[in-house]
């Protein structure tokens, strides 16, 4: 009977707490063009981060690599990638110039049979400018094929990518059986520029044995959430908590 006064009225619920919002953010499905900058020399953490987001049950992946990137970072090694959980075939394209990488990726972006496109370019070449990335992003949006660009040796020049990540390796977890051996891998993933969401920094772990692809990449927000500056309404709340 107490409810009679509020019966039939619109009641506004309290907003979700800041903890829920920042602890469970990440990968919201693929976006048109994602830049991944590996920190450190020849660090495959960026490649692993991309692999963790690739679909597992669709068409082949187009993997384009230029000569400089191949020399500096090594070649993608399929036995390792299959062990990492990748089950789709990979169409590898090896070119000598970054210009051809962009051309091959644009060709691939028009092809609906691919599940994803991964390009690797080393050392911020001239051709990989804002215009080129914008073309890629528009093509990717049109066809719906997610495009990932791994840019090693690149300080973060201008790009039209919808999301830009910096990924680096972190010391791994303890091995369950051998204290001297490295255990499950961990990365630090920093989203430093994004179009439709707040930037942030996370600790990522990956478990290839999970049955569902969505569960494999696990992200935990770091304590110092760099994304929430002092002006953000939830920053004070987070600092208290």
């Amino acid at each position: 009977m107490e409810n009679r006064e509020t019966y039939g009225q619109v009641v506004s619920l309290p907003p979700r707490s800041a903890d829920v919002a920042t602890a469970q953010p990440l990968v919201q499905g693929p976006c048109a063009l994602t830049d991944v900058h590996p920190l450190g020399l020849a660090d495959p953490a960026g490649m692993g981060f991309v692999l963790a987001q690739l679909p597992q049950d669709a068409g082949p992946v187009l993997w384009v690599q230029d000569h400089a990137s191949r020399r500096e970072n090594g070649r993608p090694y399929m036995p390792g990638m299959r062990g990492f959980g990748l089950r789709v075939p990979v169409l590898q394209v090896r070119v000598s110039h970054p210009r051809d990488v962009l051309w091959a990726m644009e060709e691939g972006a028009g092809c609906g049979g691919l599940s994803a496109i991964v390009g690797e370019v080393h050392g911020a070449p001239q051709v990989l400018d804002f215009t080129a990335t914008k073309r890629l992003a528009l093509r990717g949006e049109k066809s719906g094929v997610p495009i990932y660009l791994i840019r090693s040796g690149d300080g973060g020049v201008l790009s039209a990518a919808r999301e830009r990540w910096r990924v680096s390796s972190l010391p791994s977890d303890a091995h369950p059986h051998d204290p001297r051996a490295p255990g499950a891998l961990r990365w630090q993933a920093e989203l430093f520029r994004a179009r439709n969401r707040a930037p942030g920094r996370w600790q990522a772990s990956y478990d290839a044995d999970r049955p569902s692809a969505a569960d494999r990449l696990h992200l935990v927000s770091e304590a110092d959430v760099g994304a929430l500056d002092a002006g953000h309404p939830r920053s004070a709340e987070l600092a208290r908590g």
């Binding site: 450190g40 020399l41 020849a42 660090d43 495959p44 953490a45 490649m47 692993g48 981060f49 692999l51 068409g59 082949p60 187009l62 970072n73 090594g74 070649r75 993608p76 090694y77 399929m78 036995p79 390792g80 990638m81 299959r82 062990g83 990492f84 075939p89 990979v90 169409l91 590898q92 394209v93 090896r94 070119v95 051809d100 051309w103 091959a104 060709e107 691939g108 092809c111 609906g112 049979g113 691919l114 680096s168 390796s169 972190l170 010391p171 791994s172 091995h175 051998d178 001297r180 051996a181 490295p182 891998l185 961990r186 990365w187 990956y206």
Partner: protein
């Protein structure tokens, strides 16, 4: 007709040469030249026996599949003399020359022409002409050289030949030999009823009476030759020589695709040929991952491929021919109206390969090997669809592999132990944790002798990077000095 392919510059004619194939108890002779035949070597002999008798015997392995392909092609090539031809046995051709000998100046001239043209190709032949198929092959294999047998003297010509000439073998042959019926003439003299009674249970192609009737023309034995392969080609003849081929390409592509569409075929390989007015020609080949007859796709593949052609003073003839075709039906394969995604990927492979090169666009192929760099090979994507590996690699493998492995300077506590610190690309890394070693021995059946084993370690350094290092060899293994260390890959 018997074809023996002379593949390359073989020894002189007086050197005995045999071709061998694998028998159940080692190699056996499969074919031999005249010099070897004169020495008594026969097909079916064991090679070791023949070599023991003739130490100077030249032995080569036979390529039976290539021989079969050659005979298949010769069947069609032989239609220069007549409209119907068919393969006969493993090494013979039967040509139905009815009504076409006069075009070459008579029967004797045709046989001479055949011998000459086969000799020009490096093939030795035995030819004969007879009214029936069975008689012709018997005379060619067992009769005199270039024998011509008229319709009335078939029985006389065959009479002196052994019964094997009729392709009688196995049990009926031994029965006939036991009865003393060694020649066809003797066989033909036996009353039909007696032969019929004795061999009634045998199938048609083994029954001596049926074979004899066919050879003598008493029962029909028609020729069923394979159809001629259709050659798909479109051509454009120009009144005046021109320099730029691009404006004429669309018409050519449309013409070819229309022809392919009518025959429900798709092209896997096309060649554009440009005939210059100085009687030179230039070829531009293209290969597709899937048979196609889409004019837009074909036209796109030629983008940029013709820029490097030197047109000289111009050209006046362009042809576009499909050199490899495969059937593609016109039946709709989807009901939901969506695009065929596999065709999309095949089209992408075509475009990438046409522009970047066939070897640059690859799928992974899987090799059974212990060596980490050999496990994965590359196969051109144009060659076909990707195949998944037969078995997954269960052990931990890095995401990246350095090719070749890069040498590092290492500090270690014990020579057989893991590294404590290493220096790679002028940066010092201090190892914190390690897993291993995983010992991978060299493959003695593949590697050079003296190749050292490898001990692989997964090493995590300060800061979190994970490397895949190996030590090549162990101390005092007698295969070189102090073992060297290499970085071979990086884990995520």
């Amino acid at each position: 007709m018997r074809a023996t392919r002379e593949v390359r510059s073989l020894p002189a004619a007086d050197v005995p040469v045999v071709l061998t194939r694998q028998g159940p108890h080692g190699p056996v002779v499969c074919a031999c030249n005249d010099a070897a035949t004169a020495r008594g070597v026969r097909a079916g002999d064991r090679v070791v026996d023949a070599q023991a008798i003739n130490p100077d015997l030249h032995v080569e392995p036979a390529d039976l599949e290539a021989d079969a392909r050659l005979v298949e092609r010769l069947v069609h090539w032989a239609r220069r003399w007549c409209p119907w031809s068919v393969q006969d046995g493993r090494d013979g051709l039967i040509l139905d020359m009815t009504g076409s000998t006069h075009l070459f100046g008579g029967e004797r001239a045709v046989l001479r022409d055949m011998c000459q043209r086969f000799a020009l190709q490096g093939l030795s032949v035995q030819v004969a002409m007879a009214p029936t198929r069975g008689a012709a092959q018997a005379l060619a294999r067992y009769g005199n050289a270039r024998m011509i047998c008229g319709p009335d003297d078939v029985g006389d010509c065959l009479a002196s030949l052994p019964v094997q000439a009729l392709r009688i073998g196995g049990t009926p042959l031994s029965v006939l030999t036991r009865l003393g019926l060694k020649t066809i003439g003797l066989l033909a003299g036996v009353p039909r009823a007696a032969l019929m009674r004795r061999f009634a249970t045998l199938p048609q192609d083994q029954n001596p009476l049926v074979l004899l009737d066919r050879a003598l023309g008493r029962s029909p034995d028609p020729l069923n030759g394979p159809a001629d392969p259709v050659h798909f080609m479109a051509r454009t003849r120009l009144g005046e020589p021109v320099i730029d081929p691009y404006p004429h390409l669309q018409g050519l592509v449309n013409g070819l695709c229309d022809a392919l569409g009518e025959a429900e075929q798709g092209a896997r390989q096309v060649v554009l040929t440009i005939y210059r007015i100085d009687s030179e020609c230039r070829h531009v080949p293209l290969t597709m991952a899937r048979p196609t007859r889409d004019p837009v796709h074909l036209r796109r593949l030629f983008e940029g491929k013709l820029d490097s052609i030197d047109p000289g003073f111009g050209f006046d003839l362009l042809t576009l021919s499909a050199t490899r075709v495969e059937p593609v039906s016109r039946i709709q394969d989807r009901l939901d109206g969506k695009r065929d995604t596999q065709a999309d990927v095949a089209g992408l492979v075509d475009r990438l390969s046409a522009r970047l090169g066939r070897d640059k666009v690859t799928w992974s192929t899987w090799v059974q090997s212990h060596s980490p760099e050999r496990v994965e090979g590359r196969v051109p994507a144009l060659a076909g669809a990707p195949v998944p590996p037969e078995a997954e690699v269960e052990v931990d493998r890095p995401l990246r592999l350095l090719d070749p492995a890069e040498e590092v300077q290492v500090l270690y506590a014990v020579p057989e132990g893991p590294p404590q610190q290493f220096r790679w690309r002028r940066v010092v890394y201090r190892a914190v944790r390690h897993a291993g070693p995983e010992r991978i021995a060299p493959e003695w059946w593949r590697d050079r002798p003296g190749t050292r084993l490898r001990d692989y370690y997964k090493v995590e350094v300060q800061g979190g990077r994970r490397f895949w290092l190996y030590r090549e060899g162990v101390v005092h293994d007698g295969r070189g000095g102090t073992p060297r260390w290499f970085v071979h890959g990086m884990f995520a």
